[in-house]
């Protein structure tokens, strides 16, 4: 083998880089996300139901919020009629956080786990819980 010093150093570096996720995960506890519905408002609800079905909300909440923002900010429409015929005010702070007042135990559970950084807080004020805690 020629230039073995350089080549083997390079190979070791390369294999180390390729297997980096394996090394990086050693000794780190794996906490799976567990969004909590334990808020005062939700606890008082007889039928625990979001504005749409649970699966729809899991899959599409981001698009729904994006559509809401565009509707409110650009088209001045503030009323959302759900598939069950109920009307809701299109507002993250008034509607969503009315029930889901626990951002850290709800939103951030999944968002932090897969490193999603929604830009909600560039405009919106965080839920009351956060403000009360001085964040």
């Amino acid at each position: 083998m020629y230039d073995s010093g350089k080549i083997i150093t390079g190979l070791v570096l390369f294999v180390g880089l390729v297997t980096l996720p394996f090394w990086y995960s050693i000794g780190k506890a794996q906490v799976k996300p567990d969004p909590s519905l334990n808020t005062p408002v939700i606890n008082q609800m007889k039928v625990k139901h979001c504005i749409e079905s649970k699966q729809f909300m899991i899959d599409n909440h981001m698009e729904l919020l994006n559509d809401w923002r565009n509707a409110v900010v650009r088209d001045n429409k503030t009323l959302y009629v759900s598939t069950t015929g109920q009307s809701f005010t299109m507002s993250l702070e008034v509607t969503c956080f009315h029930c889901h007042s626990n951002e850290k135990q709800f939103c951030n559970q999944c968002h932090s786990y897969v490193n999603i950084q929604p830009y909600c807080w560039e405009c919106h004020v965080k839920p009351a819980e956060e403000i009360a805690n001085g964040h």
């Binding site: 390729v18 786990y113 490193n115």
Partner: protein, 330 residues
């Protein structure tokens, strides 16, 4: 024909996990066994190829004629294109690996009316290549968010820069568009230019289709048919912690994506994609042009027995003396 073979191969690679997941429920095969096997084949194959190349003798240093070599002190040397020192070589390699400098020099020859022969710089291939490679690298690094808890800060920076247009939800990544556009360009170039098409093989089309398939499934998963990304991360984290388990409801699109990537990883060491490691072995790029300063001994030279004049004289001294020839040693 070659194009069709490659295209159908990739279609088969898409069909295998789709059928396996949808009809046979083989999620542990496609979620655990295939990715592990692919990574092992990739690493062993890569090391094998590199060691095999490293065992071939280093050729005589090839003076590239891209720039002025080191000469008389009043002639200005082109230190990057024709380096005579290790530092210069490192500089040349960095430019080659990161910016494809020799591809940038790509020229096109045309016979025009007249008739006259015209040479012109042809930068499109370089542009598409650089867009493709850098996008691919950034996308690969971005995927680290699914491979780490907690996610390192630089991944956030990368995601924010990549998605700074903030188009739609989830935010459109610039590299996703660039990658698909560049692969498409490289493919169209291959079939549109007759000469390039003539020399194209199955092994040229296949990686293009495969990478396009990977990009497309990724884009579909992110922007159109969402998969359960929490489940995906659980699967990935299980794999890298060596405690694999497959969450139930991920979606077959993800398994197609994963299978195509596994195919790419397993295929890479045995294909032209090995230029990833091979670029570091380019003799015209990684050898300093110091032929006039350092003696380069051919490594495959074997010891030749040389019959010197002294030995010749020893053999024939008596006969030489008897006919009156002069000898050096009496």
């Amino acid at each position: 024909m070659k194009l069709l073979v490659a295209f159908i191969s990739v279609l088969v690679l898409v069909a295998i996990p789709y059928l396996g997941i949808t009809y046979a429920g083989m999620s542990s095969v496609f979620g655990i066994i295939v990715p592990y096997a692919a990574v092992i084949i990739f690493i062993l194959g890569f090391v094998y190829r590199i060691i095999k190349w490293a065992r071939s003798p280093v050729p005589f240093r090839i003076p590239t004629t891209c720039g002025q070599e080191k000469s008389l002190p009043w002639i200005k040397q082109n230190k990057l294109d024709n380096p005579s020192s290790t530092t210069g070589v490192v500089g040349r390699m960095v430019l080659e690996v990161l910016f494809f400098r020799s591809l940038f020099r790509n020229t096109k020859t045309e016979l025009r009316d007249g008739p006259s022969l015209a040479y012109a710089s042809s930068g499109w291939l370089w542009l598409a290549a650089i867009a493709f490679h850098w996008s691919f690298l950034i996308i690969l690094i971005r995927h680290f968010r699914l491979f780490s808890v907690p996610v390192p800060y630089f991944i956030n920076v990368l995601e924010n820069v990549d998605g700074f247009l903030q188009i739609g939800i989830p935010t459109l990544y610039i590299t996703d568009v660039l990658l698909l556009a560049a692969v498409l360009y490289l493919f169209i170039r291959r079939i549109a230019i007759p000469q390039v098409r003539y020399i194209s093989l199955v092994s040229d089309y296949f990686p293009l289709f495969l990478i396009f398939g990977i990009g497309l499934t990724g884009v579909l998963m992110r922007y159109f048919y969402r998969v359960n990304v929490i489940g995906v991360k659980e699967l990935v984290m299980g794999l890298i912690a060596l405690k694999p388990n497959v969450p139930a409801d991920i979606g077959s699109l993800f398994f197609i994506h994963l299978f195509l990537i596994s195919a790419l990883f397993a295929y890479l060491p045995f294909s032209k994609l090995m230029h990833m490691g091979g670029v570091f072995f380019s003799p015209t790029r990684n050898l300093a042009n110091n032929n006039r300063m350092v003696r380069h001994i051919n490594p495959w030279n074997y010891p030749v027995h040389v019959h010197t004049y002294a030995e010749y004289e020893d053999d024939f001294r008596d006969k030489m003396k008897s006919v009156g020839l002069p000898v050096e040693k009496e």
